[in-house]
Point group: C2
Chain length 219, copies 2
């Protein structure tokens, strides 16, 4: 499903595990794209999920990692891209934010049933600074591809944050609302359900709907 090698590394909870694992991966020409510590049932134990791209010889790398003294076990797991896939991020508040999510989830269901993997991740927030911070953080989220802004008034620092994440390749859909954010958005959609549906269609390989054909439009 992907060229990413995803590993669950289990080790005693001591500092330096990641450093030694990363060193071994580096020697194999692998590129670490994701690492996260994992909740462990055992407090004395550290588990980390590591995703690696471009490892020259995954089997050789695996056996070398297993031989590390700091490591107990290394198991292959499905990469998050294969399980949760691309992410639609929905940010906003009030009645609109849930309706956008509703539309996006119903549409994602229809695509995922045909083999896609699209998640819809929502944070309900208010306040210019909080919203701007969340918009900016979207570009740093693993697997995020499109953002939908769901509110009645957004502008100022939020609009600046929108322009920033567009430069990093995130598509931004905005509800039709007051404030300057609609001027910066790639697409403005009046109906919240429709905004969620369109956001999913924009990133689904199973849909024929490209931002290049609708950029700057209002629906």
């Amino acid at each position: 499903m992907s060229d990413t090698l995803a590993l669950l590394v289990s080790a005693p909870d001591r500092p330096g595990v990641l450093y030694q694992v990363a060193e071994a991966i580096f020697r194999h020409g692998g590129n670490v794209t994701y690492v996260s510590t994992v909740r462990s049932a055992d407090p004395g134990r550290a588990e980390i999920q590591i995703e690696i791209a471009e490892a020259a010889d995954p089997y050789q790398l695996l056996s070398e990692l297993r031989a590390l003294e700091v490591v107990d076990t290394v198991n292959e797991v499905p990469p998050f891209q294969a399980v949760f896939g691309k992410r639609v991020i929905v940010i906003g508040g009030g009645a609109q934010v849930g309706m956008v999510a509703q539309g996006a989830i119903a549409e994602a269901d229809r695509h995922n049933i045909r083999g896609e993997r699209i998640s819809v991740d929502t944070i309900a927030l208010v306040g210019e600074q909080q919203l701007a911070e969340a918009v900016r953080a979207t570009a740093r989220l693993h697997r995020a591809q499109v953002l939908v802004l769901a509110g009645a008034l957004m502008g100022g620092e939020i609009t600046g944050a929108v322009r920033e994440i567009q430069r990093a390749g995130i598509i931004v859909v905005s509800l039709s609302m007051a404030g300057s954010v609609t001027e910066a958005a790639d697409l403005v959609v009046t109906d919240p359900l429709e905004a969620g549906v369109m956001a999913v269609m924009l990133i689904a390989d199973t849909a024929r709907f490209s931002i290049d054909k609708v950029r700057g439009r209002r629906f």
Copy 2:
């Protein structure tokens, strides 16, 4: 807001950046809890978000990282826990999955407005194996705390996956449905909206609703 130091490290796209950064963090006694490569506008550039717990002297660590030859810039950013917070994960399909999300998002909005940070992350999926894989992966997701299963029939391998993630500390809420999954769930809720609301209340510091008081109950 937290003891986590989150850094955005920008470097030329060459192997070994993470290894050298992790080595410096290790020397400072820091514990890397999260790493993710970030979309960059510039293909020759690698940006990674690194989150570090327990760094003895964050300012000293910062200046040492900035002095690394492989690194161009290191900027402090808000940790994901401060922006997107705790995660409610909703997995399932059809009409129910969107309604669970709807309830959870409306409830998260009410808590976030009082200073909480709770996200609602949804993947619409069908099929025993796909569902079991997603349930299992929930325990490996950064910041995930509670899972809601939204469907009409779940059992078999899914039930086994539920028991696994409960051992890792994830609370599992299930809709009232056919199949053995309701026997394993911590809580069974008939109405999808209510299931989403309760899932948020279970993890909100601003709510008085503890799984210990309702474990095994049906509503």
